[in-house]
């Protein structure tokens, strides 16, 4: 449904109705802004990236073939603009070691998180996510939040499928490590026992 709607507005824009583009912007601005924010961790920068991405999309709309979804195409533009911005100010790099994860740890994190109110929990998880290295953060976001397929992620990031899988695998583990360090160890051990 959404794809046919997109096509309708795309054709309108191509016929010269620039205002029709506003509908596309409204449909995707949150999705694009969130990706840019997750990648750069900076609101102003994310907003700028988001604007640049939409302007690029507008200027190249005639090149959109319709082979992939419009959202995927737009996502790949935003992803590349974000990468360029990150390369410009190389301050985002942070690497964390990956430690061993076991069933017991997962269960205890789960129990601990369940005790917290949902809104608060979402905030904590968001902060944990932002601590991941940028490349893993964007991929894990696309995969779990936007529910993009591996194929679509490959299309956006221009990485091979095996590479995306490895990054996802690492990102998940690292995320759990971050959750572990975020919580006070006593709380985890307390809930873990119950």
């Amino acid at each position: 449904m959404k794809t046919t709607n997109d096509q309708f507005y795309i054709e309108k824009v191509l016929k010269g109705d620039a205002n029709a583009f506003a509908f596309l912007v409204d449909s995707y601005k949150k999705m694009i802004f969130t990706l840019a924010f997750k990648m750069t961790k900076n609101r102003e920068e994310a907003e700028e990236i988001c604007q640049d991405a939409f302007i690029k999309a507008y200027q190249n709309l005639n090149k959109f073939q319709g082979d992939s979804k419009f959202s995927t195409w737009l996502y790949s533009i935003a992803y590349n603009v974000s990468l360029d911005a990150i390369k410009k100010n190389k301050k985002h790099n942070n690497t964390l070691e990956i430690n061993e994860i076991n069933y017991h740890k997962i269960a205890s994190f789960d129990t601990a998180l369940q005790q917290i109110e949902q809104k608060e929990r979402a905030k904590i998880m968001d902060n944990c996510l932002l601590k991941l290295p940028e490349d893993e953060r964007s991929i894990i976001w696309m995969f779990y939040y936007d529910e993009l397929s591996l194929k679509e992620i490959c299309e956006i990031t221009l990485l091979s499928e095996s590479n995306v899988k490895v990054k996802l695998h690492r990102a998940r583990k690292r995320l759990l490590n971050i959750v572990e360090t975020t919580f006070e160890p006593e709380i985890i051990s307390h809930y873990g026992k119950s």
Binding site: A18, F21, V25, C50, F54, R172
Partner: protein, 135 residues
């Protein structure tokens, strides 16, 4: 097998909690600002004028047309014959004589040369200046 199950658990955990994270929103006037930018960009594209404007082309063609008209009018010609053009009226305009009678003083000549030199220097200097400014 053990490892596979653990991976599944990790996957389920990530999926469950990442899905709960709230989506971010850009500023309220995001779309309006963006559309203004797009409009401004469009105007910029529209303002790019060709080197020779329509009026310019009209002028060039009308001069060519007039010259051809004058030269072909000197003789009657049939439809099947190539028109025989006669440009003999051009020397009668005595364009050369205009330059022959023109005398330029040394002061004017030096002034023009200096002006040309400064213009070239400015072009070079200004180009660098604006290049740096818009970097």
């Amino acid at each position: 097998m053990e490892n596979h199950n653990l991976q599944k658990e990790i996957d389920a955990f990530a999926s469950k909690y990442i899905k709960e994270i709230e989506i971010e929103s850009p500023s309220l006037n995001f779309t309006a600002t963006l559309m203004k930018k797009i409009e401004a960009n469009q105007k910029k594209v529209l303002n790019q004028e060709p080197l020779i404007s329509k009026k310019g082309w009209f002028g060039i063609f009308s001069v060519i047309f007039i010259v051809l008209l004058f030269s072909s009018k000197t003789k009657e010609n049939s439809v099947f014959e190539m028109p025989k053009l006669n440009f003999s009226f051009i020397p009668s305009l005595k364009i050369n004589q205009i330059f022959e009678t023109l005398s330029i003083s040394n002061t004017t000549l030096i002034a023009f040369l200096l002006f040309g030199g400064m213009l070239l220097f400015q072009l070079f200097y200004l180009k660098n200046y604006f290049d740096k400014r818009f970097e």
